[in-house]
Subunit: 194 residues, 2 copies
């Protein structure tokens, strides 16, 4: 990794934190310069424009999410154990780290702002839904889940469960949020078995 | 209603629309003045500060949500019919109108910004959860739901279902979002009966 690339990666890591606090729309080259040890002109040299910065921050957050959630799940046995690993990792990321937070807030910020950032968010979301659908199908194949269970419904429902966790834990400060979220996940799995 | 109060109500109605697009943090006396037929000094006379404006917009949105969702549900028979009416009205509001949208986006904007706006959002959310818990308890009392079903779990899960709808419908433009959300609601009710 070149020195320039190492700098870029370090700045993106900080930019994800800034964006998870201020919102992705609040992340500009100006607001970022005030938070990191680089001049606006130095940041422009790396990121060219606000939109490029936002897209690169999303790419960085997506890579972190994949490393923290999706890849570890793929190490678990196919079927129910893999879905459980996915859920536990996702819950931990939503609780403890900035990238999960960024995707949730960016979705409500950009849902009515057409353009490349919204398009990328939609692609990222569909990729994750597809990954969940594949893991669920494998669970049917392994005999862990009912043959007529609906993988797309499960993927949709699981996303709602995670948004509910996020909302209860981050906004309300509900101490029961994690326990209730685990119970909601168990109910989803039970429905998928019968 | 005095002329001043009528003006204030009309401006608040427009401010909810602006806030549902720009985010509640993007709603300032300056951005609102550029959207309505009043000067900044006229808006200052009505709202005093950005924070007062944001709090009054939340109060207006809360009142709209109560009118559109909670009060009609309370007209339905206690128990399952009331929960179904609540769900249908909530779904319609999330699909078609700005106030529902405002609460979802404001929650992710303000979850890490301590202060009066966040405090109000938390109170509003808890009030809604309490209303759902009461409706669910009445459902147990009527014999529509199992005696050992958990009202707080249902209220938590229903919120996740609505957030999942919102996400699928608004961000992803998923044509299946409404159908999947109805199915998720039916699964919640079925779990609450057994």
């Amino acid at each position: 990794m070149s020195k320039g690339e190492a700098t870029r990666q370090a700045v993106l890591g900080q930019a994800v934190e800034v964006a998870s606090r201020l919102g992705l729309s609040g992340l500009t080259i100006g607001t970022l310069a005030s938070q990191v040890d680089l001049s606006k002109s130095g940041l422009f040299a790396h990121f060219k424009s606000k939109e490029q910065l936002q897209l690169q921050v999303l790419a960085y957050a997506r890579e972190s999410f994949t490393d923290q959630v999706v890849r570890p799940a793929l190490q678990a046995r196919r079927g129910e154990p893999r879905l459980r690993e996915l859920f536990e990792r996702w819950l931990a990321t939503s609780r403890d780290s900035a990238p999960g937070c960024l995707f949730v807030s960016a979705a409500t910020e950009f849902d009515d702002q057409p353009g490349p950032v919204r398009d990328q968010l939609v692609r990222d979301h569909k990729d994750l839904q597809d990954a969940i659908v594949q893991m669920f199908r494998a669970g049917i194949g392994e005999g862990d889940l009912a043959a007529d269970a609906d993988p797309e419904q499960f993927a949709h429902d699981l996303y709602g469960v995670m948004l509910g966790f996020f909302h209860g834990y981050r906004l309300i400060g509900d101490h029961e949020a994690e326990r209730r979220t685990r119970r909601a996940f168990e109910n989803l799995l039970r429905n998928a078995k019968s």
